[in-house]
Amino acid sequence: MYGFLIGVGVLLLLSIIWMVYRIQTLVSVVKGSDKKIATGSNKINAILFVLFLVGTGILMFWYSIKEFDNYQLPIASEHGVVTDRLFWITMAVTGVVFLITHVLLFIFPYKYQYKEDRKATFYPDNNKLEIIWTAVPGVVLAGLVISGWMAWSDITAPAPEKAHVVEIMGYQFAWDVRYPGKDNVLGDHDYRLITASNSHGIDFTDKNSLDDFPSPRVVIPKGEPVLFKIRARDVLHSVFAPHMRLKMDAVPGMPTRFWFVPTKTTEEMRAELNDPEFEYEIACTEICGRGHFSMKKVIEVVEPEAYQKWLSEQKSFIQQNPSLAEGLTPEVKELAEIQLSESKK
């Protein structure tokens, strides 16, 4: 019944619009305004441009200021401060250009709207002007590029030797985390070794893998360099930690990396935001299938001492599942057994 009523309503509305349209067409024919070069609508359109400029201008400034704390995520990494500064410098520069060009673009239509008794100025070119507005953007952009390039080089430079390594592996639709253990070296992996009990495909014949351990969340120390070694098991994923200003694709067959220095512990951030529930998060930003929107991992930033303590409490893959050590060469098996006996202490 409602559907029928809505249908009738829409039909009625359409027929009214239709009649208004026909009447205005006929009126314009009678008035002869369709023969004129510019009718009264010309003025209305000119005024609307100015109204648009003022209206949307006010809306933009009001919303940008009101919502600032909402869209500006707090920064929790050293390089994030740099990239955010670049962002806001660029915003200032482009903002000025945006305002000037738009004021001109919408004021000119009002100012120079058609008048029968006026003739447009024949002004085909001016090389000096062209050179100026080629050179000025060129110089400004060069400044932006160079500052961006310096930041980029620092961010993508090789990680410091002492950086804490964490491996993050993306798969449909979650992240798996592996720590290298005491030696800070991740063991080899091979995707053909992946089984239900070895989801990372770790090669346990490599001695370095014996002390590797998994973790349900990414735990990292504040103020010390952390190196994310990133890989993917099936399709492309992308590690995105918004508060860390960190993003790097996870590519099957091609390991990638990103290093950074976290600057605020989770606790500190909770206090700052006055939100006891706050957690740093990792999301996926490369389309990867049905569950793309739900690939969440929590990062916990802790004080360095707490980090060391946490490290010492973790159990390696072998310790958690001794069957993984089966079938290894005697030499490696011996090392694995030492591991196991350590955990029993």
């Binding site: 010309n42 869209y71 000119f108 447009a120 002004y123 002007l129």
Partner: protein, 628 residues
């Protein structure tokens, strides 16, 4: 003079041919070789796709703006893609996003824009009877049609259309196990795109040859309207970049169907380790963006060309910096090929490469800036007439500025780390390439409708259409900047899984509402378009009092465009409001020798030369006549 006489001879032959030519329905409306009809075919098909593409976006905007809404009412249309609880299926959501992108970028803004106006305008504005090869031109449309049919079918198959994003990155697009859309849907996508590329190449070769070879007498490159320059350079870009997409697609076909490993390596999916090793997904990204970035300019340049023409005509003023405009378009053409990897700053490629591409990318901002300043100066001290076409052109310049400036953020690799694949990117390219090109398309339709159909579109409906769309587009895409700065990732079915993005439900609702209104406003245009085609006011020969050649043809030009001889061109296309001239425009066909009152000093010197040439030609003509 030999060439001139040949041209005349040809023209004479054509004339006879013209009179004897009788088209039946099929040769006139379906398998037509007339560039004007082919242009209209592209336009109507483009409009069809725009409705579909727009409608798909409304579907996913419903999900994003009103996540709790019961979508049961869509079940008659979407069937099983609406689950038992009335929610949109997340896989189908991805398919919607993918098809929206593919349709809008390729089928609407490439074929619908470039296909329509390059075909329609090139012969009319350079003074040619038709394209260099009418048959190839017809093939171009019918390959596009075939491609459209295949892509359309893929929307309705059981496993759904391709769902890996419009960029269809492997391995996702190569593995049926990873997403159902990568099965038959992806196969159809690849087949459709293959035909599409063939269509683009056939069209492009034609546009280039026609512009180079078939310009009328006096129509030197420095007298070409900017539209033609834009179409010409667009065709060059397409011709050089589309084959690379074809290569990328072909390798993907091999990986999908024949067990090769161009893009695949070390994959464990659905409980099974695949045998592929040694491939690189990043290789595909390089190949794809080698087309993908120039593609941005393939859709944008024609729009900018159309705008240049419309703004000059309706400002009653020459386009400011004609040469600077050409040089900046040339600059954009060349640079468009060496900026592609700015889409890949965080793809894992060598960061050094990222630095190089950052430099190159920000260089391309310079010619774009020059174009904007030239548009502004063209408006300055003009005598502006706001036809709907003019309104859309001014709207385009606004979008070009707004969307272009955010490109400076994204082209900077350090800033891009945070913004990459967030809604900031979505806002950026929807403004600068999507909406700007769309406005170029609409401006072109409003401006050349009288030439296409011999009737006028209703101006008032055009104004309403413009203001609703212009405000609507900003209301849709401007808020996305805030959402993007806040870090909301693209292609997300829902953001509530994450703390950091568990907000802005109000803003997303606003965006969706604005999108629905904007989409609805397009039906005003559709009504205006189809109604005016049959019932619109009859057009006069030169309704906008424009200088270019197409307005010297009859109101409804037949096959061959000019019933008599092709007009000769004596001046550039932007003699508007010339000091001393009686009217505020001088068509290109008026010789300088007839306008001594308005000639500039350097033109006055050319008059003598012009008179000599005309005298020579008159002699040749007389000689030819006597031979017959």
């Amino acid at each position: 003079m030999a060439t001139a006489s040949v041209a005349h001879h040809d023209a004479a032959v054509h004339d006879h041919h013209d009179h004897e030519h009788h088209d039946n329905f099929i040769t006139k409306y379906i398998f037509s070789t007339d560039h004007k009809m082919i242009g209209k075919q592209f336009l109507v098909t483009g409009i069809f796709w725009a409705i579909i593409g727009g409608f798909l976006s409304i579907l996913f905007r419903l999900q994003l703006g009103f996540p709790d809404m019961n979508l049961e009412f869509l079940r008659p249309l979407l069937g099983g893609w609406i689950d038992e609880t009335g929610k949109l299926d997340p896989t189908f959501y991805l398919a919607l996003v993918t098809m929206h992108g593919t349709i809008m970028v390729f089928f609407v803004l490439t074929a619908g824009l470039s296909g329509t106006f390059s075909n329609f305008l090139i012969p009319l504005q350079i003074g040619a009877r038709d394209m260099a090869s009418g048959f190839m031109n017809m093939l171009s449309y019918w390959f596009f049609f075939l491609s459209s049919v295949i892509m359309f079918i893929s929307l309705f198959i059981k496993t759904g259309p391709a769902g890996g994003g419009w960029v269809v990155y492997p391995p996702l697009s190569a593995l049926e196990q990873a997403i159902p859309g990568s099965g038959l849907g992806m196969t159809l996508w690849l087949v459709a795109m293959t035909f599409f590329i063939a269509s683009s190449l056939l069209g492009g070769i034609n546009y280039i040859t026609t512009v180079i070879n078939l310009r009328t007498k006096g129509m030197s490159f420095s007298r070409l309207p900017l539209t033609i320059w834009a179409f010409f350079l667009t065709a060059v870009i397409g011709l050089l970049s589309f084959p690379v997409l074809f290569a990328a697609a072909l390798l993907l076909v091999f990986d999908r169907s024949f067990g090769t490993s161009f893009y695949l390596s070390d994959i464990y999916v659905a409980g099974e380790a695949l045998p592929n090793t040694g491939g690189s997904p990043v290789l595909y990204q390089h190949l794809f963006w080698f087309l993908g970035h120039p593609e941005v300019y393939i859709v944008l340049l024609p729009a900018l060309g159309i705008t240049s023409e419309v703004i000059a005509t309706n400002a009653r003023k020459p386009i400011f910096g004609y040469k600077a405009m050409i040089i900046s378009m040339l600059g954009i053409t060349i640079l468009s090929f060496i900026v592609w990897a700015h889409h890949m700053f965080v793809s894992g490629m060598n960061p050094f490469l990222g630095s190089i591409f950052m430099f190159l990318t920000l260089i391309i901002a310079v010619p774009s800036a020059v174009k904007v300043f030239n548009y502004l100066t063209t408006l300055w001290r003009g005598n502006l007439i706001f036809t709907p076409a003019m309104l859309f052109s001014i709207g385009l310049v606004s979008f070009f500025i707004s969307g272009g400036l955010t490109g400076i953020f994204l082209g900077n690799s350090a800033i891009d780390i945070q913004l990459h694949d967030t809604y900031f990117v979505v806002a950026h390219f929807h403004l600068v390439m999507g909406s700007a090109s769309f406005f170029g398309l609409l401006a072109g339709v409003y401006h050349w409708f009288p030439k296409m159909f011999g009737r006028m579109m209703d101006a008032r409906l055009g104004y309403v259409h413009f203001w609703l769309t212009f405000v609507g587009v900003y209301m849709v895409f401007f808020p996305m900047h805030y959402i993007g700065i806040a870090g909301f990732p693209r292609r997300y079915y829902s953001w509530t899984n994450f703390e950091f993005s568990n907000m802005y439900t109000d803003l997303n609702m606003f965006v969706s509402a604005a999108a629905i209104i904007t989409f609805a406003a397009q039906f005003i245009f559709l009504f205006n378009f189809f109604y005016s085609m049959y019932r619109g006011r009859k057009a006069t020969q030169n309704p906008w009092r424009s200088t270019t050649l197409e307005w010297t043809t009859p109101i409804e030009p037949g096959h061959g465009n000019w019933p008599g001889e092709i007009p000769t061109v004596y001046r550039w296309p932007y003699d508007y409001s010339k000091p001393g001239a009686a009217e505020d425009f001088i068509p290109q066909t008026v010789p300088l020798s007839q306008t001594p009152e308005s000639n500039l000093p350097h033109e006055q010197e050319l008059v003598k030369l012009e008179l000599e040439i005309m005298k020579d030609e008159a002699e040749v003509l007389v000689a030819n006549e006597s031979k017959h």
